[in-house]
Amino acid sequence: MELVNRTFRHWSLVPAVLLFAVLTLYPTVNLVRMSVSTIEFTQGGEAWSFTPLRNLALLRADEVVPPAVRNTLLFVVAAVTIEMALGLGLALLVAGVTRGKGLIRTVMILPILVPPVAIGSMWKLLYNYDFGVFNQALVALGLPPANWLGSTSLAMWSVVAVDVWHWVPFVFLILFAAVEALPVDVLEAARVDGATRPQLLRRVILPLLRPAIVVALLFRTILAFKVFDEVYLLTSGGPGTSTELITLHLYKVFFEQNQLGYGALLSLALIAAILAVLLVGGQGVRVARA
């Protein structure tokens, strides 16, 4: 009995640990090894040479990295801010509706589950210069058509708009669950005490929602850093580097320039940056929950 118990206990955790060790821990260690190497593929194998300084020099000489970092930060801040504002507004709005909540929730799940690649190709059609829905609308209004994805000033905002369309529903679902769970007696008491509607929102509802807001914010921020699929489809980073994001650049370094060593160095830098955000953000959650 005790023996069976103990063996079950051990092997039940083994597959997960093994999988994680082989497919995440080992590659992470390998990433460090790759980051100080130059890897060249020869016939039948690969040649590794130890060249830590060369990779650092490549990083310093890489003119795409500064705009990619700037664009990524701009993308994350702009998209997440808009998504949080719209998601919160929508959650409060829907909470006041008496019928049709199920329908709204169903519709809102759709963008989250659709393949991001399909979202990219859909929006590429919507943004099409000649017959996309936006330019048709502009022309119908007597305005000149816009080059949504091809103009350096507009492309980033077109990409942000797609991300907003994709992820507002996610923020909505989290905040809506929290809004629906607000303690009714507290809201009731505030109203009986004569709180006006703006006061109720600012002094009672928003403070009560703060933990959920922080969680949604943290999740969205982290996911926004990971964005790749839609942007790859929509612009591939162009025109020029105006929508180049760090993940897109990483893909190009790895698989278009075949710089596996330098790509590994870039990956490590990105992981370090995200861990830093995570630590600061985690602190924020702890403060908000306390």
Partner: protein, 292 residues
């Protein structure tokens, strides 16, 4: 916080009263309709585009003569491997979902039921969390090197293994949340009655977390079906999955808009189908996953 969010699923209408008066007006309703239209509009536009001949797309004529030519071309056209792509996606998504469910359920049960030292639990859960936060692109380089060395580059096995890996954190955390809701007394009673531990798990506890298995299974399947960067980097033309095919399509035949729309719609179908079947479970999974 976590209990609060779970409650919300069971007690949907509780707080509505506090909000109602503000939005009884036309404005609230109008804004809501606008929000729904904003979400559904793009789908509707693409759906109609997918049934149009190229000429109707350019002229924007309405009403238009509907056609299935785009779908036929995407699925069975001479230049299309779409049937093979769908097969690849189905195989990879099904296999990786089955494996991740087994692995994650066992691990979640193990962490929940057996008294592992704190550092074991902490290290495993912490690492899954960190891994989940890192852009997968950072690990594709080392995966590429490793799979080439093992002769697994450009095989379905490589995709299945990596998809299991990226879905493991979410599935593990979800199943852990569902196991946490099973009262330990139930299993203890079974053990007292002479069940062996494995039997107690299989016959008593596992049936109680079936909703969790459905939720995680649907989400894992969809995320594997949707996954793009890994499939793009670790497969060649023959083993391309649906997202990779769509991306290639969008780049090579940029002017075939009707076909692009049709391909997007086809790629969306599994998500819509699974959502229709398991909506309740999915909402629970998505919000649980985010809150816990």
């Amino acid at each position: 916080m976590s209990e609060v969010a779970v409650d919300a699923v069971e007690v949907p209408r509780r707080a509505a009263a506090a909000f109602t008066p503000a939005h009884r007006g036309v404005l609230g309703a109008a804004l809501l309709v606008l929000a729904l239209a904003a979400v559904l509009g793009p789908f509707a536009w693409i759906l109609t585009t997918s049934f149009k001949y190229q000429i109707a797309i350019y002229s924007g004529e309405w009403p238009f003569t509907p056609t299935l030519a785009n779908y036929a071309d995407v699925l069975f056209g001479r230049r299309s491997d779409f049937v093979a792509n769908v097969t690849n996606s189905l195989v990879v998504a099904s296999a990786s979902t089955a494996i991740v469910l087994v692995v994650a359920t066992l691990a979640a049960y193990s962490l929940h039921r057996f008294r592992w030292p704190r550092w074991v639990t902490g290290a495993l859960l912490g690492w899954t969390l960190v891994f989940h936060m890192i852009p997968v692109m950072t690990l594709i380089g080392p995966w590429y090197v490793a799979f080439r060395a093992l002769g697994l580059y450009d095989t379905r096995m490589a995709l299945i293994l990596t998809h299991v890996t990226i879905n493991l954190p979410m599935t593990l955390w979800l199943m852990r949340a569902f196991f946490a809701e099973v009262p330990p007394e139930i299993e203890e009673a079974a053990l007292v009655d002479g069940c062996r531990p494995l039997q107690a798990f299989r016959r008593v506890t596992l049936p109680l977390v079936v909703p969790g298995l459905i939720a995680s299974g649907i989400l894992a399947f969809i995320f594997s079906w949707n996954e793009f960067p890994i499939a793009l980097s670790l497969t060649s033309r023959e083993l391309a999955t649906v997202p990779v095919a769509i991306a290639r399509f969008a780049q090579q035949y940029e002017t075939q808009h009707g076909q692009m729309a049709a391909a997007s719609i086809i790629a969306t179908l599994p998500a819509v189908l699974l959502m229709a079947l398991g909506q309740r479970f999915i909402v629970r999974g998505l919000t649980l996953g985010a809150v816990k």
